[in-house]
């Protein structure tokens, strides 16, 4: 008993660390892909790390108050905790104690933290950014949650570990994507929107609202958000892999799947200009929701 608790604690410590490192490479891949698409060279290998170290190493830091600080702590901490709920090859963490729905809601903690921190900055650009981000969340979470329903219903469980185990037991034919292709497409759409990349990045709109939530974030505050971004990319892709691509049999296939999943939206992203908020809602509430409902209809049949 004590042993297993210790083991769990060890996993809970390791999992965010792995997530951070993988996430750094995901950020790199994203920027590299964007650069390639734009016929640029792109950043060097450790660029994401340089950015983060530099930001944390800033000499003067500006804070607008305690909640500003706590917001960043919550933003990072929430994702650190969320990673413990995402099973990876060899490590389950506390995935069995939380499950899919818990994960979905735990992922709102960092957003809430960020929103609080931005609010304390007293900058309208930030508040507008948050209002847009929350609106976008309302938009893409609806297809996302339908997808989660479909998957959970299909596998008869909200436990990610058993969902992954079921998929792996049957091989590729048992993967979510083969059994629920429509849901998988809808899920990918929702995943893309949730990343906040083009064309869904109205909430950071640099030229318009000065990168929205990040407007007053400098130094370690921005650094925290960079860390959060690594986790965000990691979480989104691993969740998708766990739901539809049979999770990770081993680290190699796992990472390949993760990066591949992430590459799709990134490749699409840089081809589009951004949507306005209302267009974003219209788009996301129309196609992915329709697809997801159709998928659920198939699943429940």
């Amino acid at each position: 008993m004590a042993n297993s608790i210790l083991l769990t604690i060890l996993e809970v410590i390791l999992m965010p660390l792995v997530a951070f490192i993988v996430g750094l490479f995901m950020v790199l891949m994203m920027r590299k892909l964007a650069a390639k698409l734009q016929r640029r060279v792109g950043p060097p290998l450790f660029q994401p790390l340089y950015d983060i170290v530099k930001l944390y190493g800033k000499q003067t830091q500006i804070s607008h108050g305690l909640i500003h600080d706590i917001g960043i702590i919550m933003a990072v901490g929430g994702y650190v905790a969320a990673e413990a709920l995402l099973p990876v090859p060899g490590m389950d963490g506390i995935a069995a104690k939380g499950g899919l729905v818990t994960l979905a809601y735990l992922m709102m903690v960092p957003s809430l933290g960020l929103a609080l921190g931005v609010g304390q900055c007293a900058n309208p650009n930030g508040s507008i950014g948050i209002s847009r981000a929350l609106t976008a969340m309302l938009a893409y979470d609806i297809p996302f949650i339908i997808v989660i329903f479909g998957v959970a219903y299909h596998f008869g469980s909200t436990n990610l570990v058993s969902i992954i185990a079921t998929q792996q037991a049957e091989g590729i034919a048992g993967w979510g994507i083969s059994e629920m292709p429509i849901l998988a497409i809808a899920g990918l759409f929702a995943l893309h929107a949730s990343l906040g990349k083009q064309p869904f990045e109205i909430y950071i709109a640099p030229a318009e609202i000065a990168t929205g939530p990040m407007v007053e974030m400098g130094g370690k505050f921005l650094g925290g958000l960079f860390v959060m971004q690594t986790f965000q990319l990691y979480t989104a892709s691993v969740l998708y892999v766990s739901l539809f691509l049979g999770g990770g049999e081993n680290w190699v296939t796992f990472l390949i799947k993760c990066f591949a999943v992430l590459a799709i939206p990134v490749l699409i992203a840089y081809l589009f200009p951004r949507y306005r908020t209302e267009d974003l809602i219209r788009l996301v509430w129309k196609w992915p929701v329709m697809l997801a409902l159709l998928g659920v209809a198939f699943v429940m049949n």
Binding site: P43, D51, G57, Q59, G218
Partner: protein, 233 residues
Amino acid sequence: MKSTDLDRIEVNPKTMPKRTNPLANVFDDLVRFCRSRSMFMLHYCTGCGAIELPPAMTSRFDMERLGIQPMVTPRQADILLITGYVSIKTLKRVILTYEQMGSPKYVIGICSCTVNGGMYWQSYATAKKLDEYMPVDLYIAGCMPRPEAVIEGLQQLMDKIKNDQANSWKQYYENYDYYLGNQQKLFGNNWQTPTDVIGEAEIYRLMGPQTLGEHTKILQQVQKPMEPLEMKL
């Protein structure tokens, strides 16, 4: 403009004394390296020089391979690019922006106008020498300098940062009185920015002998205090 004014400022490059702890040294070196390889720039497009920046950023010259990215707000930025002549009205905003940036911060003056007013030398409304109002790390002269020159300049700045020679931002704290005096000359004695430079200098131990002086006294007399809103029970 008396030349003695500039004499009061220690001339760059000035090297900082190394810390004795070797581990701390390694750490400092690492941080400096990262700083040099990750520069977020805020391009304050005051004049024609700005037109040369997009090519420098996009596929032709691709700044990102050097770790340079454009940023939008002073809070996020490391480099302030002043790309052209600075009118007196603009200068107020430039100073505000500069003070809002988090240190270490670097200023690059692009185009001749920032060096000596350029073709606006005779204009009554143009600030001629940028470095009277804020410490400038690097000038890229030319009217306008081509993207290659900009990149070249940025690379020089990278080297300076790496070698711990780009410490002009400390000048601003240590010689605040001098810069403030010049600013007051231009804008009048009621000049005040929201940023509490002296307070920052105190907190981050950047006070020098010239931080306070006659001009800061004027400032302290006329300014409306902007105490941070601390939490109270």
